[in-house]
């Protein structure tokens, strides 16, 4: 079985957010991590590899620095890493991003593609389903459990008040929830090997069956009109009291606000 996992290097949003003058994110200026949902997707792929035997290829699109998440993925147990990076691909919205990744994946053999449900920077949850559409394969989003049965995949698909157990013929794309699993740690040997491993680097010319008009900032149907830091209401009061005083404090506030 061949599994392709899409991962994204994302800014650690705890560290604050920085912008370019055109309103797009200045990714170079922020600390980064492997996106948590993607890491769960990678872990799911590695578990399928452990259970059924599989070759796991990790693909990322980003700045040259995004090679770091590929090495992290390989240190966890992925077999190959592909970095898709090119200036002309920058500033992409989800349409152009999914076109880029689909163009990369068309060069690969795959039974299963796993992406995270959403990235913590954009929070769109769009790229996975959009890749599946471009490739003409089924998508199962919000996977909370994944099993293989012959040439099909059986997935628990989460909704707000229920889940569906779905069966899809492979090839199929699955988007993973972080609660799917607890990702493994990198092993010391894995880290050592990963930092010696070759990373495949692809540019625009390596993408298959994608038109220029669908790539990068120019190929993005959505455009940023305005971006700004969120203005939050300031902190209110903060008190340190013993339990009895705390109770009186809360009840007083509830009365003042006519809650009781």
């Amino acid at each position: 079985m061949k599994i392709v996992v899409c991962v994204k290097q994302v800014p650690d949003t705890k560290g604050g957010v920085k912008f370019n003058p055109d309103g797009t994110l200045d990714r170079g200026a922020m600390l980064t991590i492997m996106n948590p949902d993607d890491k769960a997707g990678l872990e799911a792929a590695l578990r399928l590899k452990d259970q059924y035997g599989a070759e796991v290829t990790v693909v990322t699109m980003g700045l040259p620095k995004a090679e770091e998440v590929l090495r992290e993925a390989m240190a966890m147990g992925a077999d190959k890493g592909i970095l898709v990076t090119d200036r002309v691909l920058g500033g992409a919205d989800t349409w152009a991003t999914s076109q880029t990744l689909a163009g990369a994946i068309r060069n690969l053999e795959y039974d299963l593609i796993i992406t995270g449900r959403q990235a913590i920077d954009g929070d769109t949850a769009q790229v996975g389903p959009q890749i599946s559409e471009h490739l003409g394969i089924p998508v199962i989003s919000y996977a909370q459990k994944i099993e293989i049965e012959g040439d099909s995949v059986i997935v628990e698909r989460q909704y707000d008040d229920r889940y569906h157990v779905l069966k899809a013929k492979m090839p199929c794309l699955i988007t993973a929830l972080a609660e799917l699993n607890e990702p493994r740690y990198m092993t010391p040997g894995g880290i050592f090997d990963a930092y010696k491993a070759d990373i495949t680097v692809w540019g625009r010319a390596d993408l298959k069956d994608v038109e220029d008009s669908n790539l990068g900032l120019k190929g993005s149907p959505t455009q940023i009109a305005k971006a700004s830091d969120k203005v939050r209401k300031g902190a209110g009061e903060k008190v340190t009291l013993d339990a009895a005083e705390s109770v009186d404090y809360i009840i007083d506030k509830l009365k003042v606000k006519h809650v009781i």
Binding site: K14, V17, G23, D93, T94, W95, S98, D121, G122, D123, T124, Q126, V127, G128, P129, Q130, S132, E133, P138, V139, I140, S141, Y142, Y159, D160, D161, Y163, H164, V165, L166, K167, A168, E179, S220, P221, T222, Q223, A225, K226, A227, S228, D229, K230, R232, K233, G234, A235, G236, K238, V239, T240, L241, A243, S246, V247, D248, Y249, K253, K257, V259
Partner: protein, 347 residues
């Protein structure tokens, strides 16, 4: 694509088990505002099996037209037949705006549809308005009017971005549930109902539903609660949520929780507040043992009054709380519940 051919505001009228979802009515409500600014109508697109009877409800909440796509293949939500239904409707009726709820269904359906018809999709919007793009004139660039300006939080709620889709139609957005207001119900109001069936032929993209497992939940929807008593990992154990339930009961409120609690398996997903859970805006939100990660705050910061109890005085929840108490929830909650009981009984 001739953009001038695209007219009207369309909304996806999500239904589950043949019950209209709240988000459908919220989208009609917002759609009416946008349609008014554009001088056009709101059309609800109702997709399912045996759903035609729901059209009147959509009309009573403001839909001018209802397009019904009714087919046995559409009984339960599945990505492919629903995506086929919506993209066919879009190709046939050519709306200029198409809104979908940012639900577990809409966040799967929206991207698939937008990719099929090649247009932009803005995720999880919290504000929609008609305006100019660019917002301020830029020399050498034509300023377009009557554009849908879609505003959404991004980067974990740290920033707000306003997005336009000037060159493609429809302008598509998924909209966060609980943010837009539904219009008042007008009993007996009717809409023009249009049946449309593009034909459904299963192919490799149709998945098979082996089982539907509904969460057994007798609790009220946390999005409707006026008072929420919300617990985080700091509550310590699933058993300890009893303290929160007791307090909620006295106040006529509902218990909710943070993502950490759902991840730990203490509470079901439908009680989760936050970016990957539900957006709530109760009159009072008690944040008990919740550290206040930005993703959680994004789902509750619009609450009227936020009261936080946490033993860690550096917890970020105190930055959004109106009233923050640094203390031990195990001591404060039981005493608070008892005293409130007495206060309320004395009234």
């Amino acid at each position: 694509m001739n953009i001038q051919d695209y007219k009207g505001v369309f909304v996806f009228a999500q239904q589950v088990d043949n019950v209209i979802s709240g988000i459908a009515l919220e989208l009609i409500g917002k759609g009416k505002d946008l349609a008014k600014d554009l001088g056009t109508e709101v059309t609800a697109v109702l997709v399912g099996s045996d759903v035609k009877g729901l059209a009147d409800e959509l009309a009573e909440y403001g839909a001018d037209k209802v397009i019904v796509v009714d087919d046995p293949e559409l009984k339960e939500y599945r990505t492919e037949p629903y995506a086929h239904a919506l993209s066919s409707v879009i190709n046939e009726f050519k709306p200029e705006i198409f809104l979908v709820g940012a639900t577990a269904i809409g966040r799967d359906l929206g991207p698939r549809v937008s990719a099929r018809i090649h247009t932009g999709l803005t995720a999880d919007c919290t504000q929609l308005e008609i305006g100019d793009f660019p917002i301020n004139p830029i020399p050498g660039k034509e300023q377009l009017h009557n554009q849908l300006l879609m505003t959404r939080p991004a980067f974990g709620g740290n920033t707000i971005a306003t997005i336009a889709c000037p060159d493609f139609r429809p302008q598509m957005a998924t909209v966060r549930p609980g943010v837009m207001q539904k219009a008042p119900k007008e009993a007996g109001r009717k809409a023009e109902v249009i049946d449309y069936n593009p034909g459904f032929t299963p192919d490799n993209k149709y998945v098979e539903i082996l089982k539907v497992v509904k969460a057994v939940s007798d609790v009220a929807d946390i999005m409707d609660a006026k008072i929420l008593v919300s617990g985080g990992r700091g509550v310590g154990s699933p058993e300890n949520f009893k303290l929160l339930e007791d307090l909620a009961e006295v106040l006529g409120g509902t218990v909710s929780c943070s993502r950490a609690v759902v991840d730990a398996g203490w509470k079901p997903k439908d009680l989760q507040v936050g970016q990957t859970g539900k957006t709530v805006r109760p009159n009072v939100y008690f944040a008990i043992g919740i550290s206040g990660a930005i993703q959680h705050v994004a789902g509750m910061e619009e609450s009227d009054i936020i009261i936080a109890i946490n033993k860690d005085e550096t917890a970020p929840i105190f930055e959004v709380a109106d009233y923050g108490i640094v203390g031990d929830l195990n001591k404060i909650l039981p005493a608070l519940t008892e005293k409130l009981k007495a206060e309320i009984a004395a009234k």
